[in-house]
Amino acid sequence: MRYIKGEAFKYLCMAATVIALMLLALLMWDAWDKGAGWLSLKFLNSFPSRFPEQAGIKSALWGSIWLMILTAIISIPLGVGAAIYLEEYARRTWLTRIIEINISNLAGVPSIVYGILGLALFVRGLMLGRSLLAGALTMALLILPIIIISSQEAIRAVPKSIREASYALGSTKWQTVRHHVLPAALPGILTGNILSLSRAMGEAAPLIMIGALTFIAFTPAGPFDPFTALPIQIFNWASRPKAEFQFLAAAGILVLLALLLAMNAAAIIIRNKYQRYIKW
């Protein structure tokens, strides 16, 4: 009987996996079926337009790339710094525990809430307007908890014995962190950061909330320019009645998926490359 239950559970899990994969495949096939015909260099290189045949994704693509880079510049130093502090410097007191619990809770807050915060804090409070910088700051807030948590995990995975070896030679804390802990944790930290950034890449809600524009016929030239991003452009096209715009939306989804896949692939390559060298 116990054996039968075990087997049944196994097949149930398998069925769940297969259903999930099939749904994913269905979605991809749908996007491919509708959008592939519309993909072209011209599509990547044109600005949005009222006329579907002339419309392209250039401003959204560049907006997303700008947004990604600015978000990375803001969130990675902050997040990794916080993770180093929490793991290596802070003593385990009730205060650090409360901080850590709150960071995990923040990771679960819906992205629209970050949008509201960004609107109040950056767009209005700091008077950054609907600029790239306001968007990047909002996205940075959104992914900061994930960056901190994944970096903490990577740092925690560095064995205690390496720290002890370093301290026993008379290294200071900073030397130990700088020369041993960080290099060993770096692949894990990078992987986590890239995955967090790819999460930010796919988010539309907070950007809509802070009022990123949908119709922008230029690429941003600096962090204070207005912008649009891929998910917003896709959302905009998808909400239009004309059938051609649905195809444009599908093509936009393909571009976004390609970018996300590339980022995830980079994360996997980094992880595998370093795992070969570091075995404890």
Binding site: S161, A168, L169, H179
Partner: protein, 248 residues
């Protein structure tokens, strides 16, 4: 001065766990002092007090006095203290870097000139009886060495910063008998220049290499004396029970 280490009334706690109770012990210069006792009796805690390694553990506290060559370690910066007192751990823990880098790291952070590093690496590896095995592959990753070689590398790494005292915490327990005996020979060579404290579970090893032996039990030092005396004519019943294998 013949005293390298002197502890008076040393007590240690992990939070509320009282791990060391009133330890009075003297370690003499250029001698090997062994610490034996059943698991959990506080051997590691004791030697990790000496180089203030346990200060890194949250909730750890000590009372009493530890003098290293007459100087209270509370008045010494832990970083400077650990340069003077090297440590070798139970499980070999080389850095995941080249053999050369493993040895050169310590001297480098203490500001040794680049030009001197080559000769320090060579002499340290020679002292640790590893030079001949690795001299042609100094740039290979240290993780590729065998366990016994890794442990000798860790000894060489400790020697490279020029310590006066070296603490060994069960340095052979993860090694095969041949590697273990190499490390024992090495320790006997090293005592000419260094003072050594070794924690071991292996009675024969303690008897073979050490000059004095301390027997710990449940955080207390039950007996401390000349190794021959401890193994031939222990004063305490519990010491005798332990070394004859009746418990622990």
């Amino acid at each position: 001065m013949t005293e390298a280490i002197h502890t008076t009334n040393l007590n240690a706690w992990y939070g509320k766990t009282h791990a060391l109770k009133n330890i009075d012990m003297t370690v003499e210069n250029n001698k090997i002092t062994a610490i034996i006792g059943p698991s959990g009796c506080g051997k590691s805690t004791f030697i990790r007090c000496l180089n203030r390694m346990n200060d890194l553990i949250d909730g750890f506290s000590t009372e009493g006095e530890i003098l290293i060559r007459g100087k209270d370690i509370k008045d010494t910066d832990p970083v400077a203290l650990r340069k003077k007192i090297g440590m070798v751990f139970q499980k070999p823990n080389p850095f995941p870097k080249s053999i050369y880098e493993n040895i050169a790291y310590g001297p480098r952070i203490h500001g040794i000139n680049k030009r001197e590093l080559d000769s320090i690496v060579e002499s340290s590896l020679k002292k640790a009886a590893l030079w001949n095995e690795v001299k042609d592959r100094l740039n290979d990753n240290a993780m590729e060495l065998s366990g016994g070689q890794q442990q000798r590398l860790c000894i060489a790494r400790a020697l490279a910063v020029g310590p006066e005292i070296i603490l060994f915490d069960e340095p052979c327990s993860a090694l095969d008998p041949i590697s273990a005996s190499k490390i024992e020979d090495l320790m006997i060579d090293l005592k000419e220049k260094y003072t050594i404290v070794i924690v071991t579970h292996n009675m024969q090893q303690a008897a073979r290499v050490s000059d004095s032996t301390a027997f710990f039990l449940m955080g207390e030092m039950i007996e401390f004396g000349d190794t021959k005396q401890i193994f031939k004519k222990p004063r305490e019943k519990s010491t005798e029970d332990y070394i004859t294998g009746r418990f622990g």
